[in-house]
């Protein structure tokens, strides 16, 4: 069979990627299953007391992926990307966090590891195309000659927020076979295909951080690296400079956070910003969280070429955020775009991604400054 008929499927051991591999194999395509070993779960043992299973790259997941590959009769390999993952995802995540921003490691991982590195492996095994279990769709748009990225049909599962970094050449070689299905349909397919993982729980959003406790992960990681944890405790202050109390480190706080401030105040208080240099956590009312505009940097345009005039779009600033109407203003730097919302939005958080939509179409996206 010619090389371009081979498809490398990124298999995590979960139900989504298992169904992808099984569907493609059932269609008679030549499929190679690859699991990326990203993080050694034996590291940071103090974190693994609970929740050690169902996390990315646990031995159970590799076992499940291998079992599915055996069941559907495809060659299957585990590839070690631990170094690249630490370099391109974990270290930037830690650095960003310590700098007072709230990074989304999943986008970094998608850009640098799950796609860039995975394409290299696909090339190595002679696979021209790759397939993943993301809930998203790819279409070729004839009039513009561009590959378009569209939301998955299952609105609740749509993962395009994490995929805004994909390039045209990557999209041209990528299959998202689940884009047209809902999660319940995928589970039903898994049952029909007789896959043992049909009832397996969905994975957590940030696979290497157990229970979503970033601060705990950070402490354990820095301890393992022999980096003394910085003395970042300082004051909690209001927007007009009044000191309300003390905190144990700015990295414990994220913009929009309400709980855990340890302050009794008349009105509910929210974290508006953190200032790691002065070790300040700045708090205010819900209204203080509202922002009308921000600049996105590192912008990647997908479905349209970089615009030279303002563009209307719906902009999503968190995975769970409902995309809000806005106008995108080009700046002198093509990688930077100013986003002006029609209505001010709550908790525009530096370090998070901002993704621009036109209906289901992903126009592009960048990082909030």
């Amino acid at each position: 069979m010619p090389e371009d008929q081979t498809i490398a499927v990124a298999m995590s051991g979960g139900v989504d990627s298992s169904v992808v591999a099984a569907l493609l194999a059932r269609d008679g395509l030549r499929v190679v299953g690859l699991t990326m070993q990203l993080w050694n779960q034996r590291r940071l043992p103090e974190l693994s007391a609970e929740g050690a299973t169902g996390r990315c790259c646990s031995l159970d997941d590799v076992y499940d992926a291998r079992h599915v590959a055996g069941q559907i009769g495809i060659p299957y390999y585990v590839i070690n990307f631990e170094d690249q993952f630490e370099e391109h995802v974990v270290k930037p995540f830690v650095a960003e966090y310590l700098a007072g921003r709230t990074p989304i490691p999943c986008t970094l991982c998608n850009n640098y590891v799950k796609f860039d590195k995975f394409f290299e492996m696909a090339d190595a095994v002679g696979a021209h195309r790759i397939a993943t279990g993301h809930y998203a769709r790819v279409l070729y748009h004839d009039p513009t000659g561009r590959w378009q990225l569209l939301r998955g049909r299952d609105e609740g599962k749509d993962q395009t927020y994490f995929l805004f970094g994909l390039t045209q050449s990557q999209l041209a070689r990528t299959l998202f076979p689940l884009g047209g299905f809902t999660k319940p349909e995928v589970r039903e397919l898994a049952r029909e295909l007789g896959l043992g993982v049909a009832e397996k729980n969905d994975s957590q959003e940030i696979c290497f951080v157990p229970n979503g406790d970033y601060a705990q992960f950070l402490s354990a990681y820095l301890r393992e690296r022999g980096v003394p944890e910085q003395e970042t405790h300082g004051n909690i202050v209001t927007t007009d400079g009044r000191t309300l109390g003390e905190h144990s480190g700015v990295h414990h706080f994220t913009v929009g956070q309400r709980r855990g401030l340890g302050i009794a105040a008349g009105e509910p208080l929210y974290v508006i910003a953190t200032d790691p240099r002065k070790q300040l956590v700045i708090v205010g009312s819900n209204d203080d969280l509202l922002r009308e505009r921000f600049v996105a940097h590192g912008v990647n345009w997908i479905s349209i070429s970089p615009p030279d005039a303002p563009v209307r779009a719906a902009v999503k600033i968190r995975n769970k955020h409902v995309a809000a109407p806005a106008t995108l203003h080009p700046t002198a730097d093509p990688g930077r775009t100013e986003v002006v919302f029609d209505q001010p939005q709550r908790a525009v958080t530096p370090g998070q991604g901002a993704v621009f939509y036109d209906g289901d179409l992903v126009l592009g996206g960048g990082w909030i400054e």
Partner: protein, 376 residues
């Protein structure tokens, strides 16, 4: 797809004679060798025949258990408060991990570095001796690069110092002559599945009179040294596999060595940016470990497997992914070159035709991988 197996240091296929003897034993001689009755006696007879030297041969579950038993048993039995063990940096994890455990128990461990040739000298071992040294553990043949250590010379040093010598012989048995008397070892580890026997059976040779502490409790089997109902069929299979190895050794050595040299010479001459890791002369005849500049070894293993050729990089970790080999790093290779290395280990059934096909596949794969430049 035609498949060819070039990973005999990982494991070997069970020889048909061994398989037959084992199945027959499992089916017919099923007694518990400790039982008094006829069935037990029949099993005991088979077991004794397999033992040859019942006082010196301890059957275990394989190489890892033999190594663990040797290190933990000999060191824990040694008298004295302060104890010291000498080993090398390129041992198998089955030796290095028990050494680390002994360290946690307060034992001092010296891991001798090896040069680019992959060997230590008896003199280096002698210099590492301390008054409290109780055990020297040096592998006979390395699993990744095949180099042979001067065990007989080291045994002279050990004997003069009054220190026990253990050697992990898992990769030597069946590939080079093994005579525990000539080697002068007190403890020697062997594994069934590396010599065309089954998995799940191994031997620790224990020289008569060697003090060993128990590491496992529950019965008096194997003279208290390895309690547990004896794996009679495994022992029979191991015994027969060693007999066959002795019969085949001289011819296998020459023929397999010739094929290995053909493979190595062709790769080195045809593909620029390649080289052999470790010494080319003093090693097992079936093994070669070669670096390929600018190629990710892991990608190469997969590419070759998809073409029907089974080879390997370093030791496989439990999930199936690989980490840079500690053996290659110990030879002084930079991590990048260690990741760009492949181990080819030939065996009894490989043919010249297979080797020629492998040479072509390696040449093509290296070309392809260098073109798309997959980097570790």
């Amino acid at each position: 797809m035609q498949r060819s197996y070039f990973d005999h240091n990982a494991t070997t296929p069970v020889a048909p004679e061994v398989l037959e003897a084992m199945v027959s034993c499992l089916g017919q001689t099923y007694g518990n060798a400790s039982s008094i009755h006829h069935f037990g006696q029949a099993a005991k007879q088979k077991l004794d025949a397999a033992h040859c030297q019942p006082t010196e041969v301890v059957f275990t579950s394989g190489g890892t258990e033999s190594d663990n038993l040797a290190l933990l048993g000999a060191v824990r039995a040694a008298p004295g408060e302060r104890k010291h063990v000498i080993t090398t940096a390129i041992e198998h994890p089955a030796v290095l991990a028990p050494c680390a455990q002994l360290e946690r128990e307060g034992v001092a461990v010296t891991r001798l570095p090896v040069g680019a040739n992959g060997t230590v000298t008896a003199e280096e071992v002698r210099r590492a001796l301390r008054p409290e040294t109780v055990l020297i553990s040096v592998m006979h043949a390395n699993n990744e690069i095949g180099t042979l250590q001067p065990i007989a010379d080291i045994s002279t040093v050990a004997r003069q110092a009054g220190v026990y010598l253990h050697s992990d012989g898992v990769q030597a048995l069946g590939k080079v002559p093994v005579d525990v008397e000539a080697l002068g070892v007190d403890l020697y580890s062997m594994s069934g599945h590396k010599i065309y026997g089954p998995k799940g059976i191994g031997v620790l040779y224990v020289r008569r009179g060697t003090r060993m502490a128990a590491t496992q409790y529950g019965g008096h089997h194997e003279r208290d040294r390895r309690p547990g109902t004896e794996n009679v069929a495994g022992a029979v299979a191991f015994g027969l596999a060693t007999e066959l190895a002795a019969v085949h050794l001289a011819a296998d050595r020459a023929r397999i060595g010739h094929l290995r040299d053909r493979l190595e010479d062709a790769i080195l001459s045809r593909i620029p940016g390649t080289g052999v890791n470790g010494e080319r002369w003093n090693r097992t005849p079936n093994t070669t470990n070669i670096w390929f500049d600018g190629v990710d070894g892991e990608a190469m293993v997969i590419a070759l497997d998809l073409r029907g050729f089974a080879v390997s990089t370093g030791s496989a970790c439990s999930s199936g992914a690989v980490e840079p080999s500690h053996v290659l790093l110990s030879l002084g290779l930079p991590a990048e070159r260690a990741r760009a290395s492949l181990r080819f280990s030939l065996g009894r059934h490989n043919t010249l035709t297979e080797v020629e096909a492998l040479i072509d596949a390696v040449t093509d794969s290296v070309k392809h991988l260098r073109r798309i430049s997959v980097h570790a």
